[in-house]
Symmetry: C2
Amino acid sequence: MTAPSADVRTDAFVAALARAGQRVTLPRQAAARLVAARIGHFTAAQLMEDAEAAGEPIGRATVFRALDLFASLGLVERVDLPDGNHAFVVCRAVHHHHAICTRCGRSVDISDASLGEALAAVERQTGFRMTAHRLELFGLCAECAASGVR
Amino acid sequence: MTAPSADVRTDAFVAALARAGQRVTLPRQAAARLVAARIGHFTAAQLMEDAEAAGEPIGRATVFRALDLFASLGLVERVDLPDGNHAFVVCRAVHHHHAICTRCGRSVDISDASLGEALAAVERQTGFRMTAHRLELFGLCAECAASGVR
DNA sequence: ATGCTAGTTGATACTGTGTCTCATATGGAA
DNA sequence: TTCCATATGAGACACAGTATCAACTAGCAT
Ligand SMILES: [Zn+2]
Ligand SMILES: [Zn+2]
Ligand SMILES: [Zn+2]
Ligand SMILES: [Zn+2]
């Protein structure tokens, strides 16, 4: 169960763009590469810094547009950090949630399965008809927990 | 099971301030009154408009500080709307979650109970040690669903 | 009641995020 | 290679949230 390499993930991004009939532009490829190289969650600002540092700066508007596009294709997902900041994580397309390490930022995809019944129960109790939900789990990953600090 | 009136909720806010050893200032009382009068979720900007409209304007910084204070006392809670905006909802102090109507903004408190076991399972599977989580449910409340539109 | 003081307020300035516009550049099809 | 619909990015903008600091006030001591 080796995690896919950054190259493979970059290719997946590019392939997804083409499949969706979206142009594979240089800035989008650069963004894909930078996103794929990221370990945990990241903000739009961080991605811009990455681009700068990699010697291929991308305009601010383009970064936001690329991230929105990736999100609309299900390649990344927006998460709201506990401090209120907005970030993104790489992820699979099917609906699921994220466990995010508050120390290193690493995120693990969590199945939505366990929530289904709980959600139905809430609908029965409240009369609400749910159309969307957001579940974000924060804590320490095994590595960070083992290393003791914080 | 009548919902508490705005007056009662205002008093609860003021009482909570005093109990916590916080000063009961005029702007804080005004903010408490305005928050208590709100039906669903609201933003800091909306609360400022409310204050303006009520003829007792409150400085922007003070609104943010009052809301932070209320949140630290568990009187309100920050929620992240699906559109990425930050808002607040009135709520009880014990940990729980919110079902929020995307049409009228009304929110219903949801018990955390159903999540406990699911959370433990995730910890077992991922090795994460969870320290916090956020669950927000979005949909249409019974009234809005009944009224048909959207 | 009066004064005192630590805590609070709010005008202002500032940072940072995200959006909009539009002239220029370019991907990809023909 | 040509062409044009689409994408880019500089710069201006709108807005959220924070920092500063002189003026004010709640609550306590007298
Ligand atoms: Zn994911
Ligand atoms: Zn970690
Ligand atoms: Zn609540
Ligand atoms: Zn509703």
